[in-house]
């Protein structure tokens, strides 16, 4: 355990150094929200990989594969395919039409206050639904890995993210993500090579060995997600939900133009995709070498499969190599959480400061320097709130929130964003209708489903996206059609299209 702490303190010192460096370069709103849009494609690609690989991806996918076989491999595939949606439809139009937030895109299309408020709601609901389980997960994980108590672990994670975001803004957040992504990929590569050496570079032996140990059903679908519709619903949630996550969208404002945004998505698809594919092999290797019983004994959900595999490959328990590998992977897992919660805090504070305070309350009449201070203050307040919620969440079932985050992103944010970008007739009524219908149906179905109510569920699916997504789109279309046509908006649409597709304003 002491090795974990030493490595982790090193990572912490590096990230604090980065924050100090970034803070001196963060003065304008563009610096704070978007790192002055000066990142290269490779930098943003690594940062996106750091952004999108939460602890659920780093530890969870391997654990699910170790315990449930093929269903874990499905969990890992979706997040890569999701980037096809982002690359084809979202990344470049967002870069071209927005400035810092989802609210900016909706506001420039609709130019109404109520549509901006709907975008703020979508941003904050998704971010908090994402942030709270991350904080709770951080508490459990840091306690498990270092031995400090849950409450202190949450306070420690929360305090670190407040420092990164409030002082260093997007520049610090980005570099924390890049450091995390490099560490994560490095740890993954080491584990993969060691595991391959052990089986003489024949990955097929992982399949053969686990089939012998756990039966042929282990290599088949349906061990974790029993209902076939849940499998499909999860897939839809991933593929369209990623494009509705505000903290991921914000990353496209950190590059200078659409071409760089495009190239950065290709980067992340190869970086994160390779990692996701490797988690399937990690899971099989862990089930083969460490064994399901030992993995379950360490953590019922399987989250320690990868650290235990690393320990085994390093030489086993109580060997120096084993403890070093365990410590390294564990420290990277904590860094992973820090990078994700920082991005969520930054995205939420941008929405509160830029969308809500400056553009909604003050109609844009706020001086730049003052806006940066408001955004910093918002980051501190959100961080403290996240710490409080994280502590309250101890022992509460947060699984439903994880589902809710991705489901609301797919069912409310995604329809509103895509129709804003591509449908002339779409209006403020549609924004509100889509947001309300997608949000309500997601929340209600998640609350009456098995994730919340267990065996007493009224609704059969864990992930409601397959139903809530069409409801969200329906709400957006019906909302547009039953309210008065906004002819001014439709007339502006040609100019908006020019902006969306070329990044150049008409005037």
């Amino acid at each position: 355990m002491s090795i974990t702490l030493i490595i982790f303190v090193l990572i912490l010192l590096v990230t604090l150094g980065i924050t100090y460096w970034a803070a001196r370069r963060t003065t304008t709103t563009s610096d704070f929200y978007a790192a002055d849009s000066q990142l290269t494609a490779a930098q943003n690609g690594f940062a996106l990989a750091g952004d999108w690989c939460s602890a659920a991806a780093f530890l969870g996918f391997s654990g699910l594969t170790a315990l449930y076989g093929m269903d874990g491999a499905f969990y890992a595939l979706g997040p890569l395919v999701a980037f096809c949606t982002v690359l084809f439809l979202i990344a470049e139009p967002l870069r071209n039409s927005g400035k810092y937030t989802l609210g900016d895109v909706i506001r420039s299309r609709m130019q109404t206050r109520s549509s901006l408020l709907a975008a703020i709601t979508g941003t904050i609901v998704v971010n908090f639904a994402y942030l709270m389980p991350q904080m709770a997960g951080a508490g459990i994980l840091v306690r498990l890995l270092t031995g400090i108590s849950y409450d202190w672990a949450v306070i420690f994670v929360g305090a670190s993210m407040i420092v990164y975001v409030a002082f260093g803004g997007m520049l610090a957040t980005t570099w924390v993500q890049i450091v995390k992504a490099v560490l994560m990929l490095g740890a993954g590569a080491i584990v993969l090579v060691l595991a391959f050496v052990l089986v003489h570079f024949d990955p097929l032996s992982f399949f053969a060995d686990t089939e012998v140990k756990y039966g042929s059903s282990y290599l088949l679908p349906g061990n974790y997600l029993k209902n076939p519709f849940d499998q499909i619903s999860l897939g839809l949630g991933y593929v369209l939900g990623l494009a509705g996550l505000p903290h991921v969208m914000t990353r496209f404002y950190t590059v200078p133009d659409a071409k760089t945004a495009r190239r950065s998505v290709v980067w992340v698809m190869f970086l994160a995709g390779a990692f996701f594919a490797a988690t399937t092999l990690f899971g099989l290797a862990a089930a083969s070498f460490v064994g399901q019983d030992a993995i379950r004994a360490a953590d019922k959900g399987g989250n320690l499969a990868l650290p235990l595999l690393a320990q085994y490959l390093g030489g086993g328990k109580d060997s120096f190599g084993g403890e070093l590998m365990l410590g390294f992977v564990a420290a990277v897992a904590v860094a992973t959480i820090l990078a994700v919660v920082s991005a969520l805090t930054l995205s939420t504070s941008s929405s509160i400061a830029h969308d809500f305070y400056v553009n909604w309350m003050k109609a844009g009449h706020v001086e730049g320097r003052q806006e940066v201070w408001i955004a910093r203050l918002a980051a501190v307040v959100i961080g403290i709130l996240a710490i409080a919620l994280g502590i309250l969440a101890q022992g509460v079932n947060v699984a439903v929130l994880v589902i809710l985050a991705i489901c609301v992103a797919a069912s409310a944010n995604f329809p509103v964003l895509i129709l804003s970008l591509f449908w002339r007739r779409f209006n403020t009524g549609g924004v509100i209708g889509g947001m309300a219908a997608g949000l309500t149906s997601s929340v209600v179905l998640a609350m009456i489903g098995p994730a919340m109510r267990g065996s007493e569920a009224i609704w059969p699916l864990v992930n409601p996206t397959i139903v809530s997504l069409p409801i969200g789109f329906l709400g957006a279309v019906v909302g547009s059609l039953i309210t008065t046509r906004d002819f001014e908006n439709e007339k502006r649409f040609d100019a908006f299209l020019l902006q969306v597709h070329t990044g150049s304003a008409a005037e």
Binding site: L77, T85, G235, S504
Partner: protein
């Protein structure tokens, strides 16, 4: 917006040409990854027997299709980048040029 209507129309026509090119490439590509991935989840849910057929050793059709989905996503990403650089970007520049002409 200043500028005469015919030139604004020309700018809008250039944007429409860009959008038409995007639809021509992106519609089939979107259908391919969507059907490929969502189709795989449907097969996983309803045709377990198919997924169980062995390909090499203990490796079955299911894991093979998952691996192919990774490769498919990567290939589509590279194709998209190539098409965007060679087809979309020139059309986009043309639209910007005619829009600037319209505003002058």
């Amino acid at each position: 917006m200043v500028g005469d209507d015919t030139r604004i129309d020309a700018a809008h026509a250039a944007v429409r040409a860009l959008i038409a090119a995007k639809v021509r490439f992106l519609l089939p590509m979107t259908i391919i990854y969507f059907v490929g991935y969502i189709g795989l989840t449907v097969v996983a849910g309803f045709a377990k027997d198919l997924m169980a057929i062995k390909v090499v050793g203990s490796l079955n059709v299911g894991f093979t299709l998952i691996a192919l989905n990774y490769v498919l996503s990567w290939i589509l990403a590279l194709i998209y980048e190539r098409v965007a650089n060679r087809v979309f970007d020139p059309l986009s520049s043309a639209a910007v040029t005619s829009a600037r002409g319209a505003a002058r």
